[in-house]
Amino acid sequence: MDTGLAYFKKVYDEVPGWVQKMHDFSPEVLSHYTRIRSEIMKDGALTRKEKDVLIASMNAARLYPRSMLYHTKGAVDNGITIPELVEYFLVAYLYKGIESLKLSIKALAYALELKGKCYESKTTEVVTLDDIFHIIIQYMDNEDTSFVREVFQNIQTGDRERIERKILEDGNVSSRLKYLNMVGNFITELNGKGASSWIKKARNFGASEADLADVGYICILTAGIPAWFEISDSL
């Protein structure tokens, strides 16, 4: 089997249609795309798991389900837990609001399915934040849900600062990674200006320049080379 096809078969357990098509039309491009993807996704300042889950969350934040789901699988394959996944998707909520959290329920259901736990998908019935948090807590099953419940309580106050502080505090996921996620949300949408204050905050919570560069690289995969133009200005 061609190297590119073999690489993606390993990543997705099967050769996805888009990979096969790229191979059919341009095996050379697939080969070079595979090379850059494997370079970027390997363990570096950020781990493979962190890179996958950040891309999943960034795509939830920009309301793009396909890449959210692909990278949710990558994160699950690399050991993400449901409580961790939930905390990343709360960062997407902080960026884009209820629509992103509603979308992320699909990713959570998919992650549970990959872990062999099936729940009936209820996304069509979801309207309010109350509904969404109810489902998330249900999906978390026997896990500790206190962080999520506290986030919901804070959201109900309507106090933006409080909500932000709570979502971004250390939980199952470190503040450093949550701030990096916020940086990625802006960079993916080519908003370097919007990202700059989050970059400073990420540094304050321990993010290194290499961490930020890794965020830039994964953004190239999901948003093209302009994503690097936007973040590299701040490195």
């Binding site: 249609g17 888009w18 098509k21 790229m22 059919d24 039309f25 341009s26 050379e28 491009v29 070079h32 795309y33 090379r35 850059i36 993807r37 370079e39 970027i40 570096g44 793009y64 396909r66 890449s67 080519l190 320049e209 290499a210 560069a213 690289y217 953004c219 190239i220 995969l221 999901t222 948003a223 093209g224 080379i225 302009p226 994503a227 690097w228 133009f229 590299s232 200005d233 490195l235």
Partner: protein, 245 residues
Amino acid sequence: MTGINNEGHLAEWMDKMDHYAPEVLEAYKRLNELVLRNGALSRKEKECILVGINAARRYEKSMLYHTKCAIDVGASLDELAEILSVCILSRGLPAWLEGMKALAYAAKYIDETRAPKVLSKHNGQKPNRYSFESLDDCIHYYDNMFGTLPQWAKVLLDYSPDTLLHYTNLRNANLSDGRVSRKLKELVLVGINTAERYPEGVRIHTEGARSCGATEMEIAECHLTAVLTAGIPAWFEGAQFLRNE
């Protein structure tokens, strides 16, 4: 790819990429070269598609850079003006407001580099050259293009026939063969919609491109070009409409 700056040094973004991960820079450079080389579409056509995509989404940095590249491989001011005016169809006047910056940049760059300048006010077109006067003409136009009146045009006909008439005139004038072929204009619109992950737009303009003779390989190269500036989702969105030849 914004490679070398005016002083002949690596552009800052490349320098930084090289510093943090030289392997990624190397892999990106190879991918970029491969995707943009002459193939089913020429390098010039690919650069024009990148100009259009970045004008449509109002991303100035890449729009200006690819304007420069397009001129370097032979695009004229008139051709760029046609590419940029096509963007109005998919993303409205804001795309033109952005595109004007590319035209101003192109005029200056052409002057500085003494590149061949083809510039004719009104681009050789007479106003109303393509004017449809009745809705029947419009329906006929869509029938010819798509084999039927598309649903979006039907609804516009029901609710706002005046808008359909005037939009069809704009569409027809914009998408006619001129300095730039209608096929390339449709491909620019395909690129805009793959880059912005809007499948309905990809579908409409893929059909449009096919109707003026675009091959599946040309459409595929358009999507791959979009991947450089918008990431792999552009391929996800485009590939689903490709037929195996």
